[in-house]
Amino acid sequence: MFTVFISLVKDSLQAILHGSKKYHLWMAFLTFIMLIGMYCYTIQLEHGLSVTGMTDRVSWGLYISNFTFLVGVAAAAVILVMPTYVLKDIDFKQAVLIGEGLAVAALIMCLAFVVADMGGPSVLWHMLPGIGVFNFPDSMLTWDVIALNGYLFINISIPFYILFRHYQGKDALSKVYVPGALLSVLWAVGIHLVTAFLYQGLQARPFWNNALLGPRFLASAFAAGPALIILVLALIRYSSSFRIEDKTLKKIGIVVTVAAQINLIMLVSELFKEFYAPTHHSESAYYLFFGLHGKKALLPWIWTAISMNLIATLLLTFHKLRNNFKILYFACSLLFIAIWIEKGFGLIVPGFIPGPYGKIAEYTPTGIEIGVTLGIWALGAFVFTILAKTAIKIELGQLRYKKETVSKE
């Protein structure tokens, strides 16, 4: 068992280190971005968070925005896990490994973003249960720590088990992974709800303190996550011999469509509540959509997001258009970007504007903040590429445990 593991590690290292020229260029590019990100982060470590655009008035910004969005992407892998493992829908089989790889990458990015956002990364051990002091169950943040790490564990262990079996040329036993898969389905909903509750539970911020926040998070996540999976699968289809059937993409497309439609309905409901009979609690929404007292930094962002969202949902709704792959990819990219803006900038920043006493202080991220953010995205892409490369090789049968060679060596 142990020797198999060692050989798996060796083989996957082999797989990771070798590839086409394009692959090497891609990895070098990611490494370069990561180095820039790390450089920016050292500056942040030295000078504190003052190098970011955040202030006492808007105390969360780009990092937490991205974190929130990525939790959604991670949770969305579940939409693929469910039918494959549990309902035995064979179409999704390849998609699910990719989806879980994506979830792992997204979770690693989430954790990186949280760490980047901390004022005191050197005392983060205070957050470890056991050594530190855990404010459980009062603080939603502790719930989130548990949920995210648990989900990361599940998403690493299930694919690992399956790949490990396949690596040895054996079939994965369904009675081992199906309970895990079921758990991960529940857990995925959990991480996203808990993350929504992080904001929803603050009576101080009326913009977040609204019952629709959690469900809307889920809807947008189930649109953005699978949209990304479609795009990634399309990329893999073109760049490797891994066979992904049209049927699979089309089925995921339906998932994306339904989620995007529900998301739109909820958006309408939210807008109706804010603008039909506005109270002073609607001011954040006013700021977001129309600007307040001449301050309108978010206007271009949110209207871009909303129009992209509308166009994408419309395109997806018509079967003819959706089944045309070019249009499908286009719609998916639109949707992904739209939700990134909406769930990031459009959600976190207006929560702080206007402030508790009506003060309007705007937020613009600094270059350093953007550098760190790009670096973390590159890290995510890097992790995902490694995971996907190994997984695909194993699934294709190119990476197999060879008893003879090991014993010969």
Binding site: L49, S122, N135, A204, G355, G358
Partner: protein, 357 residues
């Protein structure tokens, strides 16, 4: 340090500042040489005054990895044979400070020990002593505060006193108290209020209203802290353990009263202006990346004195006292005046009331 370049000093901070500028080094602050030179300890600020750690990029990284690997770096310094006795002691202190527990959960001895360590560390580097207290809450005391809207004229003396008393960062001009200037006849219209004015007061047709941390009885800020770095003491003070805070700023998002301040960068207080009468949970020197806030001057209130803002207010608009003492002024105000609190609908139960004459 130059007195004229900072907006802050346009607010009258009293005479101590003059001494500060005359005693400071003549090399001029722009070069920054003076700051890095170990020979002029007066120039050290904030965290450096607590831990003698020059935080250049490399050591910052070292510190980070050190603490992640449970202090491998610190161990090697504290065990090193070459370092002298004093630096060994310093390293030992740094090491123990880095890995101490949450103040709230410490035993009395542990509290004493950490307070002594911090005072000793300060002495080791500056040669000066501070009076650092770990005095706990007294029985039958619950602090409350009342603010007379008709008396406040917007002079900001309270803000000045608060900044000086609590060793707040001069660089970012951190202020716990905000005075909102409001138009007469419009009620409490915070949207049109100005909390950052620089003109002669009282301005015609305006009234003034101060806000700060309200020391809620049901504080949303403490509930959300993931590491219990902030909590409510028995006497009602909502405090922060600066060394335990990880800087997530969740409490800041949760406070409906804009009561919290964050150290976005290294806080700086000129050595000559440091208030050396300190409390562990109050005005001791902070480091970057931690939360802080008004503590009703815990170092004063627990010693039976009024907070600095109350003492400094020239109009007597501020009233502070023990809510459990039936003879206190605050009780008299609550019983005889029409009082109200802000955002009562949130259920946070601020221990801070407003009233009018």
């Amino acid at each position: 340090m130059s007195n004229t370049t900072k907006k802050w000093f346009s607010l009258n901070l009293g005479s101590r500042k003059e001494n500060a500028s005359s005693s400071s080094c003549s090399c001029g602050k722009k070069e920054g040489d003076c700051h890095s030179a170990d020979t002029s300890p007066q120039q050290k600020d904030g965290f450096d005054q607590v831990f003698d750690v020059p935080m250049d990029r490399r050591t910052a990284f070292k510190k980070l990895t050190a603490s992640l690997l449970i202090g491998a770096g610190a161990v090697s310094t504290s065990c090193s044979l070459v370092s002298g006795n004093e630096s060994k002691e310093k390293a030992q202190i740094d090491w123990e400070e880095q890995f101490k527990g949450n103040y709230k959960l410490m035993s009395e001895e542990e509290k004493k020990a950490t307070v002594e360590r911090l005072a000793r560390s300060y002495e080791l580097r500056t040669g000066k002593t501070i009076n650092l207290s770990s005095q706990g809450p007294e029985e039958n005391v619950l602090f409350g505060y009342a603010f007379n809207i008709s008396k406040c004229q917007g002079y900001m003396d309270c803000v000045n006193a608060c900044v000086e008393e609590n060793n707040q960062d001069r660089n970012s001009q951190m202020q716990y108290i905000r005075i909102h200037e409001m138009k007469d006849g419009k009620g409490f219209n915070f949207n049109e209020a100005d909390d950052n004015y620089y003109h002669e007061v009282p301005a015609e047709g305006h009234f003034y209203m101060g806000t700060q941390c309200f020391h809620c009885d049901n504080p949303p800020c403490t509930k959300v802290c993931p590491v219990q770095a902030t909590w409510q003491e028995e006497d009602g003070l909502v405090v922060i353990d600066y060394d335990w805070c990880v800087g997530c700023r969740y409490c800041m998002a949760a406070c409906p009263y804009d009561g919290r301040r964050f150290n976005w960068s290294q806080p700086e207080v000129p050595e000559a202006e440091i208030n050396k009468n300190q409390h562990y949970l109050g005005n001791r020197l902070r480091k970057k990346g931690v939360m802080e806030k008004c503590t009703f001057c815990v170092q004063r209130s627990r010693a039976g004195k009024n907070p600095a803002c109350v003492e400094a207010c020239p109009t007597g608009a501020r009233i502070f006292g023990n809510l459990l003492d039936p003879n206190s002024t605050i009780r008299w105000v609550l019983e005889n005046k029409k009082v109200f609190r802000l955002k009562e609908d949130l259920g946070t139960e601020p221990k801070f009331w407003y009233f009018m004459d």
